[in-house]
Symmetry: C2
Subunit: 325 residues, 2 copies
């Protein structure tokens, strides 16, 4: 895309041009007071996220194309965690002085790429001046059967998709000055942080086939997210440390990969509980979606972890080392 001016009116019309297109279900897109869209099939889903410069990202670290893609994808991850299908997006864009046309163009190209990948239409937004870049993304989606955080029952098994701790390890490397291409071997970790992908297809199959009893995405880290799931379900959990999906690469480069796997955030994988009776059906999905059984739901309120020697201890709840503070 080509942006001629960053003044609000010029930018709005450039974005309108860029994101125009004929999308199923969009009767009126960008350009009126509100977008007009088709009604949801099943129930409607709504989620919003703020991404703020120097709190959630740094322009010196995050290439704008990847940031654009991530800004949409972290929101799509919330829809995935409900088992939903994302339909329409809105983008609030606060831009500070010093952000050039090129940055905005690349950001928009990345955002548009993520829209295309998910089949989602941008239907509206707002542009403003700001002191720090501010990205406010809202998604409207739909689902005929939603999977909440609150449906886990004692006896359910706990699964997670993908690998844990990758994004947190990537963030550590980025802070040390590594960039994509610095070391091809380490790029997967950097990408996990810079360019996470929402697990929409997995969420949908789990919801449609009624396989999961409760689900959440791992945005804050396993310990925090499992805590949320258990708290909402009124249950405890037992997690097997040895079962956590930790990549050989993470094991090689981190002294304590378990800490990152347990407490690192930003992986945007799905963490879900499922009745034990569904285990074999779920394991048939494992090769496609990279699923790992990591523990089980129990009565009570405690989340315990079983270490390599079979000892149980309470799982401390720690947030991801947040880079703003």
């Amino acid at each position: 895309m080509k942006i001629r001016s960053l003044r609000e009116r010029g930018l709005v019309s450039a974005l309108r041009q860029e994101f125009r297109g004929s999308w199923g279900g969009v009767f009126v897109g960008i350009g009126d007071d509100a977008a007009v869209v088709r009604k949801a099939r099943g129930r409607g889903l709504l989620t919003t996220d703020l991404l703020i410069e120097d709190v959630h990202f740094k322009t010196a670290i995050h290439p704008p194309f990847l940031l654009g893609r991530k800004a949409l994808n972290v929101n799509l991850s919330d829809i995935a965690a409900m088992g939903g299908r994302p339909l329409f997006a809105l983008l609030g864009l606060g831009l500070r002085s010093g952000v050039g046309k090129r940055w905005v163009e690349e950001f928009c190209v990345g955002f548009k790429k993520a829209l295309a990948e998910a089949g989602v239409a941008l239907v509206g937004g707002d542009i403003s001046a700001a002191k720090k870049i501010c990205l406010a993304v809202t998604i409207f989606g739909e689902s005929e059967h939603v999977v909440l955080r609150s449906g886990a029952r004692p006896g359910d098994l706990i699964f997670v998709s993908g690998r844990l701790g990758e994004a947190a390890a990537g963030w550590r490397l980025l802070r040390k000055g590594y960039r994509l291409g610095t070391s091809k071997r380490l790029d997967p970790l950097l990408k996990a942080f810079l360019d996470p992908r929402p697990q929409i297809a997995l969420g949908r199959v789990l919801a449609r086939r009624r396989l999961a009893s409760a689900m959440i995405d791992t945005s804050d880290g396993l310990s925090v997210d499992l805590h949320h799931l258990c708290e909402e379900s009124g249950t405890g959990a037992v997690v097997e440390l040895a079962a956590l999906p930790i990549s050989p690469l993470l094991r090689r480069i981190e002294n304590n990969p378990f800490a990152l796997a347990l407490h690192g955030g930003e992986d945007y994988q799905l963490l879900f509980a499922a009745p034990a009776a569904n285990r074999s059906k779920i394991m048939r999905l494992a090769p496609k979606f990279g699923l790992t059984e990591i523990g089980r739901v129990v009565k009570g309120k405690r989340i315990q972890i079983i270490d390599g020697r079979g000892r149980k201890k309470l799982l401390p709840i720690k947030g991801y080392e947040h880079f703003a503070s």
Copy 2:
């Protein structure tokens, strides 16, 4: 409401508590990965706005209660301009250090008041640290018959609700140091800026009874908003200066009240076109909604203004004197 801590988790649970409630059509509100809501009746409407500190408001000028109410109401105004019914809201809240619990509490009370006034449920949101306060509000609404900006036809009449230029005059006074209560006589102008009310009922009756052919809210000022409406409709317009609804108060305190009426923004009134055949039906609504006929839609692209002596000239398109720049 009472907020104990501004740390994210504490604040989220305080807000969740405060905005909980049983709302028609909300199956899952704040607290899961996404809200689950009923489908729209008719078509869905989506709109979002960013309000950023020192761009759209100043904490030294805007009392937090009124800012909370305005943050929702300016978004509701976009739904009103479509002839829609607002249903659900999402709030992204970026808070900087130095913003105290009291400020957040009062902001939330104001936001909640506006929700209650419009019968809208807050179903989700996000909280973040920020350098400047950042408010990202999204509304989902519905309408069986939407009124777009693009439906005006030559021969249609042009109407506006309320009075023009009040908010801009209020903003001028606020910048000069006036506050609510400084002068009771001037309070209506200050309130027009600090506490605008969305014209939802008017928008709905115009849509439901198919009275308006095109509609927009006057957020940027009559000249800019009429330009948008005409541009989308592919028409021109003629506006009678003498017909503009300017309050006696505005005439008394401003040397050039017409400039404010034409180019002042933030009034959040409705500007609409309607076939001449609907004039009498619309005038029957005038006492209730304060409607004024101000001109007519014509062929071409020009927007002309007829001054008090019957002379026509082009209407310059000027934005509201934006306070960030």
